[in-house]
Structure formats: C-alpha cells, structure tokens
Amino acid sequence: MASYKAPLRDMRFVLFELMGGDDLASLPGYEEFTRDLIDPVLEEAAKVCEEVLHPLNRSGDEEGCTFENGVVRTPKGFIEAYKTFRDGGWTSIACDPAYGGQGLPKSVNTLVEEMICSANLSFGMYPGLSHGAYVSLHGYGSDELKDAYLPKMVDGTWSGTMCLTEPHCGTDLGLLRTKAVPQDDGSYKITGTKIFISAGEHDLTENIIHLVLARLPDAPKGVKGISLFLVPKFMPDSDGNPGPRNGVACGSIEHKMGIKASSTCVMNFDDATGWLIGQPHKGMQAMFAMMNTERLSVGIQGLGLAEASYQGAVTYARERIQGRSLTGVKHPDKAADPIIVHPDVRRMLLTQRAYVEGCRALGAWAARALDLQKHHTDPAVQEENEEFVALITPVIKALMTDLGFEATNLGVQVFGGHGFIREHGMEQYVRDCRIAQIYEGTNGVQALDLVGRKLPAKAGRNLRRFFHPVAEYIETHVEDDTMGEFVQPLAKAFVRLQQATAQVARAGMANPDEAGAAATDYLRLFGLTALAYLWARMVEVSLPKVGGADDSDGFYTAKVNTARFYMERVLPQTNGLFAQIMAGGKSIMAFDEAAF
C-alpha cells in the first residue's frame, strides 16, 4: 500500500512565502496564530493523519460500513481512530472559541483538511459533515439552540449531518416534500425521507444532530418555501445528555463506488421532533452558508487525493525497474532502469505535481480571502474578499475535483497493472475522488453557478476581484527579464479568458443556453488561468532563492521547473478550451432530442 507523508514543506511555502501568512496574527481574533503556533499545529496534524488515519484507509475501503437492524457500524479501527482524533482536539480546530473551538484561521485549517483528505477521505467525512452542520447552526440558530448543541458538536462528542436530498430531488431542492408541522410548545414534527445522507447513522458518537430541510404547512412553492430544522437522534435530557430516541431512523445504507467507509444513509423521519433554525422559509440561506464552505472543502478533497496519488506514483516510478531509457542505459547496476526515466512517466508525474501544487496555492488564496473577509477591520476589504470568494468557490470546487480525478487516474496509469488491482490503493483514490465531482452541487452546476450567477452579479463586480490583480500582475512583470518566460504564457491565457468572459456574457444574455453550453469549458479555462497566475507568483517567490542556501533540498529549483512544465505543457489546454467556447452552443442544442 502507498504510504503518505504530509507535504509540510510545500504547505509552509504556500502559507507563509506565497500568501504572507505571517501577518495572520495581525488580524483581530487571530492574535495568537503566529508562525510559532501554526507550525506545531501542522506537524501534529501531519502525525495524526499519517499514523492514525492513513493506515485505516485501505482496510476501511475493503470492509466498508455495515447496516443491521437500523444500526450502522463503521469499519474496524474507526471508533478508536475517531477517539484519538477527537481527543487531539481536531474536531474543534476551526470552530468558534465561544463554543469551545480553537478559532484556527481558514488559511491553516484548509491545509489540515487537505491532510485528512489525503490520508483517509472516508474518515474525514464524519467530522466534515459535522462541521457543515456546525456552520449553519452557528450562523443562523437561536442562542438557545446554539448553547444546547454547539459545544458537544464542537468537541466531537456529537456529530452532525445535512439532510437535503430526497428520492425525487437533488439539484432542484424546490421540489422538496418533507413536512414540518408546528407544535404548541414551539417545536415541529418532521416527516419525510432523505437519501444520500453522509454520516446519517454511525457508531462514532453518542448522538447525531440532523439539520433537515422541510416545508412548513403555509410554505410558498419552490425554494422560497423551505425551512431548516434541527432534529437530534436522541432528545437531550435536562442535563444535556442523550435521552429518549427521536423519530428518526436509518432505513438502509448505499453501496457505492467509493468512500466506502463513509456511511451514506437513507434517513426516515416520522413525526420526529425538531426546532426551526433561522427564519421560516429562509432555510436555503442557512443551507448555503454551509454549502459554500463545503464546496471549498470538496475542492480540497480533490487536491488531497491527487497529492496522495502523486506520492504513491513517484515512489513506484523510482522503484519499479522495467526496460531501459530511450536514450541509453541510466542505471547499469540494475537489471533495468526505473520507469521514472521515461518521458511519458515523467509527463504524468509532472502533470500530477503541477496540478497538486497549483491547486494547493489556489485553495490557500481562497482561504486567505475568507480570513480577510471575516477578520479584516476595513469593511471595504471584507467586501472585496467576500466577492472574490463568491467568484472563486465554484471554480475551486469543480476545477480541483476534476483535476483531482485526472491526477488520481494518472497515478493508476503510472502503476500499470498494479494500479488496477486493489492492494496498492491507487484505484481507491480514483473511486474516492469520483464523488467529489458530484456532491455539493455537481461540477456542471458549479459551472452554471459561475456563468449564470457569479459573472453577472453586481454588474460583474465579482470578476474585478480576480481580473484586476491578475491584469496588474501581468502589466508589472510581463517585460521582466527572468519572469517574462512565465508571465507571457499567463498573459496569453488571460486575454483568452477575457475574450471568453465577454463572449459568455454577451451570448448568455441573448440566449441562456449559450452560457450553459460554454459553462464547463469556461470554468476550466478560468481555473487553468488562475493556476497560471499562481504559478507565476510562485516562481516570483522562488527564483531569487534558486541555488541559494535555502535551496539545498532543491525545493525552489523544483518549483521553478514545475512552473515551466505547467506553462509549457498544461496551460496550452486553454487554446482548445477557448476555441470550444467561441464555437458556441449550436452543435449542442441543435441536435434533435429524439436522435439521442
């Protein structure tokens, strides 16, 4: 089985050298998060991921969850691992100190999330879903509800879920049918069936807190008539301990392609007692608070899996000897050369690496924007960062999971036949990654969100938060002797992105199908251009250090060389994407429906 070492060197590079994370402590509320504190947090996270979570990844996948008489059991070792995880305080790192959390900056937490996803994505689903429920409850719940539930959700004694999907409605929540009937005591009786509920039932925590979307009796039709309710598995008693069982039960679990150690449940609510979170009919708002942070997290899942796959592939490519280099023997002492000498193998490894390191920087950019949005003192800065996050969220979710899927597939390919069998774990990364392209809004829906919502909002102001810094960067560096090599390809891709943006906006205004037809290609063009910008910035940081004392491990040299590979061998994809977008949607929409 492939081993996993957290890429702490690159994480520190991204956090401190690229994004200037040393200044986080200057933001109100983050005073204690100096480098002295952040470094040990990352190291401890690496340890728990490498030593506790990763060893359970293969076995968890083989064993999966089991369902019997309404009880779901996680694979062997998960209960112990969860206890270690919780005792280490990892469920609370990103939570509000007022409820026992540690208030870790998003910039740091994102890196921890990546490690968890690399080590054991299925395991990460349990605390991950809890955190989503935490975000909605924290943002929209009454003080009474928050005081009663948040402390135990934060310390990991209880976990949470988000119950959205129903058998007949996933993407279109407007069709939702679950009912909520008000009771005299201020509570509600919830009745309905929810499916695909991650962590809906399991044996890791003493209670499970479900956040459920449902309709009140007087609700308007569609998404404007949906409210959010809190429904505990066990009703807390007066001391706050789990009391009698509530009317919610797991009906079955799904048998899936990947993330098999994560329980995916059918949840039946039968007059279950619940409480309203936020305003009646405003459930979508509270749900989207969760959904937006979840979408960033799902993007990080793609990154984490790509990193894990890359590590496995590199190790294998060095160890596997087979045939000889095309340009003569490289390792005469061995019976054959390691396959890493082959251009095509190197191409695959570098593609994985360029994706991984680029996406890590992109995730860090968004995370930093979230930190500034929440903690900066200037409302104008907050707003600018909020706009950037709104724009980049669909890009991160879709691009990073799509690239993650490509990268994990390349990992299988490097392994050849051994990638296709289960014991090496390379095919598991592919299977685990596949769902990330689907849940929390399919990548097609992300692309529509980008072109249909984020582009036109506020007369296009969101766009400014990306296009202006990039344009300015290009103007500043394009003539530069050493940077020019990297900035010129960026500049070309950027012009394509500008033209495509204008085209999508223009064509989409006249005919929304045109925007829809361009959406996925456009999102990828956007994403690849964003990565090119970040690669250029990474070069800018690295170049002065190449060959210097700090480069004794070759880190900066490798960085610049990976950037070169990205600019020359990945970024040209934008040519094709541009051509596809400019061709318009006619060939897609003119095709006779009956002829499919």
């Binding site: 007369a459 296009g460 102001r461 766009l463 202006h468 344009a471 300015e472 906006a505």
Partner: protein, 783 residues
C-alpha cells in the same frame, strides 16, 4: 387664414400662466392678465401705492422658480407682458388670439367675454381653456360675431410639457378660427391637436377620469394594497408607473371631487360614469384633513419625516398610514408580455385588473361616435394627455377585439357597438406598408400624416434599411437624404453603432446627398452603454476599452469631415456620447424639448469622443468671451465638470451645445421633416468644414487654477473626493496637458488627451464604483 403673431392669456393661474409661458417659448409676444390684485398683495406693493398687476407678475416670478420650468429660457420670460383686466384690456387690441383660462364659472367667463369682445380686433380668435363647460353653453347669449371666432382650446398641465391640445369648435365657429388656432398650436406650440366634439370632458378627461375613478373604486371594493394596485394599473397596461394612487397624489386628491362633480352634472343620466362616481368617505376625510397629495401633508403615499423619512402608504381598509411595502403581484409576475394572462389570472389581482381595464376599454369603445368619431383621436388623446404608452384601442388590439367582447359578455357587461363592428378584425393594421385604422363604418382608411410630417416609423413600414446591424440602421428617407438611426436598447452607444456609423458615412458619400442623425426613441441617446463598459473594466479589458474610445473618436471625426451635410435631430435627452455626436454634426435641428449635456463626470469619466475638444473650440471661437486662453477653458470646464444639462434646446444655445445657426422645431412630429429640409438646404455648395484653428492653451498653470477652484468646492463640501480626481482630468484635457501658451494644440492632440485621461479614469476604483452604482440604482454615486 389669419396668422397669429401676438397672443393674450387671461387668467394667471397655473394653467393660464403656463400657457402664456409656452406661447413665449415659441418666441411669440404674449399678454398675461389677471384680476386686479387686492391692496397689499404682490411683491412691489406698499400700502399707499398698490401694485394692481401683482397677480400676473407674481405668476411669472413664480414660474421662473418652478421645476420643471414652464419657460424654456430666461429670454422667453421677457416676451410676457403682465397686466390686469381692468387697466390693461387695451393690450388685447392687437392680439390675434385671446385665451381665457379663468375660474370654471359660466357667469364670470361670460362677463369677461363681453369685455374682451369690446376691445378685440376683428377676426381675432377667442378661446376658452375650460375642461368641463360645453362650448354651446359658453357662447349662449353672445353675439354671432363672437361665436364665429370662439373655440375651446383645452391644454393639459403642465402646458409646456403635455403635448395634447383638445380643440373644439361650435356650430357657429368659423373654420378659419379653428384652423388658425390649430395651425399655430401645431407649428408654434408643438401641440398635437385633437379635434373633439362638444361633449363633456372632451376625450382625454372623459375617459381618463372614468378610468381613475374605476381604478380607485374597484380597489376599495377589492380591499387591495395600493402598492399592488399601482403595480397592476401601471406598467403592465403601458400606464406610467405612478399608476393610479401615485397619479392622484401628483395631481391632488382634492381635484377629483370637483372634476367628478362637473362631469357628472354635464353627462346624460344614462352615462356609465354615474355608476362609477360613488362617494368615497375615506378620500373625503383625507382631503378634509389636508392630506391632498404631494402638495399637502401627504396623500395615498407619504414620506413620514417624524419617522426618519420612512415611506408610508394608506391602508384602504382603515385609512391609516402603514409602512410602504414592495408590490407583490403574482398575476403581474406570471403574465410575461401577455395582458390577457393578467386579465384572466385567477386571483383577486387578476380579477381587479379585469374589472378596471375591462370597464375602461368598454367605456372607451362607447365614446366612439360620442366624444369622437375617430378611434385614433381617442388613442392619441390618452397617449398624450395621460401619458399612456398605448391608447385604449391599441390595448384592445393587443388583447383581441373578440376576446374582449366575449369576456365582457361573460361578465354580464354590454358589448359596445364598435366592438361588434370590429369583430374578427383589429382596429389598426398595416396594408402595403401603410398604417390603416378602422372607421365606425367597419371600413379601413389610411392614417394620413398632416402636411410636413414625416415619421421614420412610417418609412420603416414601407422599406428595408440601406444598412443595419444589431444597434443601428441607415434608412433612405427620400430626396437623396439618408437617416442614421440608433436601434440599441435605450439608444445606448456601443461598438456596433460606431461600426455602422463608419460604414454609413462611406455609403452616404456614394449614394446620397445628405445625412440626418435621428431616431424616434423617447430619448435621442443618454450616452454609451455603461453595462458594456463596466463589464469590460471589470475584466480589465483595457485595450478593448481604449479601442472603443478611439473608434468613437474616429467615427465622430469622420462624421464631422464627411463630404456631405450632416444634420443631427435630437429630441429628449442627448447626453454624454449622445451629445458628442451632435457636436460633430454640421448643423442640428433640435426638438424644443431636447436636453443636451456632457454628463460623463457623473459616472466618474469625461467626454472622450471629442466632447471636451468641441466645447473648448466652440467657446474659444464664440467671440462671447474675453481674450486670452483661459476664459474658454474655464467655460468648458464649468459645463463639463458640473455635468451641466441644458433644460431645453433654447438653453442649449446659451451653453453652445447648439450654435446660433442650429434650428429648433417645436412639434416633435415635424422634427424629421425639418431636419431633412435643413440638410437639403445645405447640399448646394457644401464645403467640408475646416479643422479648427489650433488653440493656444494655458497648460499646467491653467490646470492648477481650475483645480484650485475645485479644491475650494471640496472645502465647502460641494465636491467629493472623487469629483476632485475627475475634475483634475477634465482640467488637464481642457488646459492642453503639458502644453504652454506659446505652443498651440490641434484637434488630434485634444482627442489624444481625452482618450488618455479617459483611460486613467476608467481604471480608477472611484469611477468603477460610480458606473456600477448608476447601472444598479439609476442614480449617481457621490463618492
């Protein structure tokens, strides 16, 4: 036919004074008389020597401060001679037309007529502005010679701006009298004259008052929220967004009972108006309590100053004010563009919409043959008298004659005869490119425009454009003249317009003698497409923006130096780039109601399509300013940096947005014909204009002087920080950049300065915030 060269108006109330002002706007001397002011009244009076003309003088003084202004220029006000009807009746002796606009009392009017008849010159026309008293009643007992010269001319308030004039002749009225007044009103006052029968309320108020009353009464019956009512009886029906309650607040609630009572008194017993004319105790109480609308303590809507200027609305059930809510009418949201869907909507709102519009359209149909024989007169009266986008018969065409008849029948209402006549047809149709209208006899006849009226809309029905793209078109309007029309949304200027303009110049050179730039939008153009601009700026497409600026400069410059005469013919707003294209025409024939201005600074930009350059050269060569480089710079700076908009074509001449040789057309319908005539008159011996003499401009020292002035305004709080940035760039362009007085700056150098300054501004966050705010809210941002 007698020509009208001097006019008198008796009665200096809002209507009379407004009519007098508008006659003066036409450049015609006018006498304005009212009763003798009581002692102690009037601005110049003192106890011993009372000013007997104080009422008429006060009316003129008040009009000079009124907004919207009754006068088109200060010069017009000088054409008004004030007086009183006891001392100054002799002033009527040389008037060709005497308008009576006194209180609506028969005895007072008739005794005045006797006095007037004694002094007026033979053949002069006397008219009454009455809105309710039949002509036959007015002339009862008066001499035949008076009755022969007597007509009713019913203006709408405010007389300058409302284009409808209802004209009524009596049995004895001479055709010459009717024609003289109609022609004068058409050509000089710019009115659309609708001949009405001598029936109560004539056309517009007869139907308009019924409609208002129906909308109010039905709203009370249905217990609706007034915001919802105004959202229904408003935009969906092509009615101004003030709707019903907003309109009543505007005209004054107290007016309605008077108008209703006099209409009720004059209409025959079987008129459907009586059934609608029910007392509304709540409204009566509001009037009694002083809640008469905007002029009073508030109306159906009010701004509650005690509550931090909160907007409030009256609850029709309780009569109490409550917080104004946002209209929420599913029936309107779901109608799309189909009025029938609204009228058929199964909801209280849908039923209300039908009750109001169904009864109104039925009443309009019943007026055919009664108030007027021609349906197009009724439509024109409602369009111009009540600002409806569509007349009632145009609305019926939209929903279908038979659909309306069937629904009336199903609702137990009578189906008027004209609807039966029109069964299976439409009231209007286009036959072989000519608009036709259905007569009472069921036969169609051509809609014939009056002599000298050419409408582009008619030409478009009959022909194909010479050139066309998504934002503009070039039309052949006959006699070798082409017409360039903006067709983009709101006539916003965009790259396609510049492209077609460039192509059109080449085409006109080849195939035509002259070009007119004209369109029939409600505004000529309010400038560049800001949505495109902000989008391009948001994606940092600076090169594209700069090439758009350059393309506009080149297109406008090519227009200016085209080898044929170019006449701009604006009406309504001509702002920003819409003003700049006119500045590049050889001549302009402007509708009197044209509002020109370079308003770019409002969105943080400056005129980049030659506007700075043109205003600078115009003022420099005007001969109106002291010598030296600074005065013209200062004048152009003042106009551009404060985004001055001329409030009429006459005012535009004062500011040199228009030049002395540019023409003004009073009647909107005659604008294209006048512009075409002007263009043709320039064809013989046409010479391409010489480029302006390069200017000696002050350079940085001049810029500093202008900036100091702006800094002064900033200290006074009259200019914002970003105003300072924008004004600085305007100052830089107008003072010639880094030139000095010894060098001269030519036209191209000024274009370059404009473009460079524009590009600096468009990248400024302050400017982007202004553009965005304007787009999202329609209001300027003061940052």
């Amino acid at each position: 036919m007698a020509e009208i060269n001097k006019v008198a108006v008796i009665g200096a109330g809002v209507m009379g004074a407004g009519i007098a002002a508008h006659v003066a706007n036409a450049g015609i001397p006018v006498v304005l008389l009212d009763i003798v002011a009581p002692a102690g009244a009037g601005p110049q009076s003192n106890g011993s020597n009372p000013n007997r003309n104080a009422i008429a003088e006060g009316a003129v003084a008040k009009m000079l401060k009124t907004d919207p202004a009754p006068f088109m220029s200060k010069a017009a006000a000088k054409l008004v001679t004030t007086g009183n009807i006891e001392d100054n009746l002799d002033l009527l002796a040389d008037c060709d037309w005497i308008v009576e606009a006194v209180i609506e009392r028969l005895d007072i009017k008739q005794s005045l007529y006797a006095k007037v008849d004694a002094v007026r010159k033979k053949g002069s026309v006397v008219s009454s502005n009455t809105s309710t008293i039949p002509l036959a009643t007015l002339v009862e007992g008066l001499s035949d010679s008076f009755a022969e010269d007597f007509v009713i001319t019913h203006f709408f308030n405010p007389p300058r701006y409302m284009r409808l004039l209802e004209v009524v002749g009596g049995a004895k009225t001479k055709a010459e009298a009717l024609d003289a007044v109609s022609t004068f009103a058409d050509h000089k006052l710019g009115k659309s004259v609708v001949r009405c029968k001598d029936r109560p309320g004539f056309i517009a108020n007869r139907l308009g008052v019924y409609w208002l009353q129906a909308a109010v009464v039905e709203a009370f019956d249905a217990g609706l929220d007034i915001e919802d009512v105004d959202a229904i009886v408003g935009k969906p029906m092509g009615i101004p967004k003030t709707g019903v309650f907003g309109l009543l607040d505007l005209v004054g609630l107290d007016l309605m009972p008077h108008v209703n009572a006099s209409l009720a008194a004059a209409l025959p017993k079987d008129d459907p108006f009586h059934a609608m004319n029910r007392p509304l105790p709540m409204v009566e109480k509001m009037i009694a309590d002083g809640y008469t609308g905007r002029k009073g303590k508030g109306g159906f809507y009010r701004v509650n100053r005690a509550k931090n200027k909160a907007k409030e609305s009256v609850d029709l059930a309780t009569g109490e004010y409550r917080a104004t809510k946002r209209a929420n009418v599913e029936a309107v949201k779901s109608m799309g563009r189909k009025l029938t869907r609204l009228l058929d909507h199964d909801s209280e709102h849908g039923r209300y919409a039908w009750r109001v519009l169904g009864q109104t359209l039925a009443y309009a149909s019943a007026l055919v043959g009664d108030a007027a024989d021609e349906i197009e007169s009724i439509d024109e009266a409602m369009r111009l008298g009540y600002n409806w986008k569509f007349g009632p018969f145009e609305l019926i065409d939209q929903i279908g004659v038979d659909w309306l008849a069937a629904k009336l029948e199903a609702s137990g209402m009578a189906v008027p005869a004209i609807l039966k006549t029109a069964s299976g047809k439409t009231f209007y149709r286009v036959e072989n490119g000519t608009r036709q209208v259905l007569g009472m006899d069921g036969a169609y006849r051509d809609l014939v425009r009056p002599d000298g009226v050419v409408m582009l809309a008619d030409i478009k029905l009959k022909s194909q454009p010479v050139l066309k793209n998504g934002s503009a078109a070039l039309w052949d309007i006959g006699d070798g003249v082409a017409c360039f029309e903006f067709t983009s949304k709101m006539n916003a200027l965009d790259p396609d317009i510049m492209d077609l303009l460039t192509k059109s110049i080449r085409r006109v050179k080849k195939d035509f003698k002259a070009l007119v730039v004209y369109n029939e939008g409600s505004n000529f153009s309010v400038g560049a497409n800001l949505g495109l601009a902000i989008f391009a700026a948001n994606i940092a497409a600076w090169t594209e923006i700069e090439s758009l600026v350059a393309a506009g400069q080149q297109a406008y410059k090519a227009l200016k130096y085209a080898p044929f005469p170019v006449v701009g013919a604006p009406s309504g707003m001509a702002l920003g780039g819409g003003c700049e294209i006119l500045l590049h025409c050889d001549a302009v024939q402007a509708h009197a109601e044209t509002y020109m201005g370079l308003v770019e600074v409002g969105v943080g930009l400056l005129p980049g399509w030659g506007g700075c350059k043109e205003m600078l050269t115009r003022w420099a060569s005007s001969g109106k300013l002291p010598k030296g480089p600074m005065p013209a710079v200062g004048k152009a700076f003042e106009l551009i940096s404060t985004a001055t908009v001329a409030k009429s074509a006459a005012e535009a001449k004062e500011q040199l947005f228009l030049r002395p040789h540019d023409g003004i057309t009073m009647n909107r319908y005659r604008l294209l014909a006048d512009a075409k005539a002007k263009a043709l008159s320039m064809v013989d011996g046409y010479q391409i204009p010489e480029p302006p003499v390069p200017l000696a401009l002050p350079g940085p020292s001049g810029k500093v002087a202008l900036e100091m002035a702006v800094a002064g305004f900033q200290r006074l709080g009259k200019a914002t920080p970003h105003d300072g940035v924008v004004s600085g760039e305007v100052a830089n362009v107008l003072s010639g950049g880094d030139t000095d007085v010894i060098k001269t700056v030519d036209e191209d150098a000024l274009y370059d300065l404009e473009r460079e300054a524009f590009m600096r501004l468009v990248r400024h966050p302050g400017t982007l915030a202004r553009v965005e705010h304007m787009l999202l809210t329609g209001k300027p941002l003061r940052n």
